[in-house]
Symmetry: C2
Subunit: 289 residues, 2 copies
Amino acid sequence: MAGEAGGARAAVIAVDWGTSSLRVYRLDSSGRILQTRASDHGILGVAPGQFPRVLDEQIGDWNETPIVMSGMVGSRQGWKEAPYVQCPAGFDEIAARLVEVREDAWIVPGLSCRDSAGVPDVMRGEETQILGCGAEGTLCLPGTHSKWAEVRNGRIERFSTFMTGEVYAVLRQHSILGRMMEEGKPDAGAFADGVKRSGEAGGTLHHLFGVRTRGLMGELGATASTSYLSGILIGHELRAQGAREFSVLGTAELASLYQRAAALLGMNARLLDPDAGVRALARLGAMLA
Amino acid sequence: MAGEAGGARAAVIAVDWGTSSLRVYRLDSSGRILQTRASDHGILGVAPGQFPRVLDEQIGDWNETPIVMSGMVGSRQGWKEAPYVQCPAGFDEIAARLVEVREDAWIVPGLSCRDSAGVPDVMRGEETQILGCGAEGTLCLPGTHSKWAEVRNGRIERFSTFMTGEVYAVLRQHSILGRMMEEGKPDAGAFADGVKRSGEAGGTLHHLFGVRTRGLMGELGATASTSYLSGILIGHELRAQGAREFSVLGTAELASLYQRAAALLGMNARLLDPDAGVRALARLGAMLA
């Protein structure tokens, strides 16, 4: 056992195993991170039956238990499907439904809920971050599939998902909009124009075409157009969600984009520590011990 | 000269030259189609300088003039850029701005306008169909980039574009939604559910994720999910556009989808002949003669 970080006894190995990446954390009993390792062995690249081997290679000589895993590793395409826990749900409901995959390792189940029209929604992995950060009220986790959660008294009451990040990516990579775009420095003015645009007449599908026409007419440069597109989509997400006050839990760059968009719309967004998920896994591990 | 269709003197060769296809029509002086040929030599597959050769191969032994071309052939990536004519515009404004590319051939310019927020919009090719059909009021041309035009007294007063068809295609082919989809018979019930969904809380980006979650929960089959996605997007387009009465100019399958969506939303949609564009090119040819 290496013990590079001071020899404190690691109480938990926390694992964030998503679609495209695998991150493992060795934690002491207070939840402090002693060591961490990341790889691109997301679940989409792991063959059925190979999950135990990939995990063991990743944790190497760490031999603490329990191992507590969250994310898409608990989906139908993962190690073992961990059935969704229905909202409202907090630590107790989740701890009661951990799925044991071997004698030292558990998977945290995702959450499900239904919106006001009865359409289902799901999350896997974000519940760990949300509960780990300890914040209450409206929380936004921007990303490929942005999540908005309502948290009261330590429980996630309901949430909804927006495909903002994925729509941005497929339009950039595969639509006519991407043909006129170039990588470059984000353009704050074009982003603000996009956020403003999201409130004008015509709706999302019309506003998207304006990315092309403003480019054609020479009103928008090839790098600015990516920021304009981002502003349109994030603006539509924030307007549809509608909370005037919320907390953002995400990577620095994305979280600050959401904070700027919120300010432009007269909303107040507070940034939280995106590494909160590890603390929740430590706490779940302690509940297992 | 072949004259297979009866030997009537063809007054015009009409050309619909788009991004991915090339259609040529030999017309008599009354606008009746004598012969037609189609190929996949859209402008994206034609090297600069090769447009005259590709056209001549397509029209073969037809030797009538003038040749009147509409569509993306007049774009920056086409044979020669035909600058947009600003709305309002009808036959007279367009005829005055035809672009001669050789002594027997002209390109019909596209149209531009600005929406209520000042954002530009453009069309190339649809102006020919709209003027050719002779209808007045609100016209919808569904497709990759759906066009909605207001026509009064034979002139297109303004129009707006929705990226509905392209967003549908990129989500099916490149997003997580497509992974759960299978080709199959259109599902009218799922389509109607999607149209209804477009009016519920949460907005486009949230409704899209519901395609995935309803599939995950076993509420939506792999073929039905394509119809549900289509209903969501077309529903959002119709609601954002907002006209209670309109005419649809499109291929039979797509036009009838729009008509059904309209009926579900209490709107009244009338179907028009989608081949109207040829008549407009014949009329422009006669104005040249």
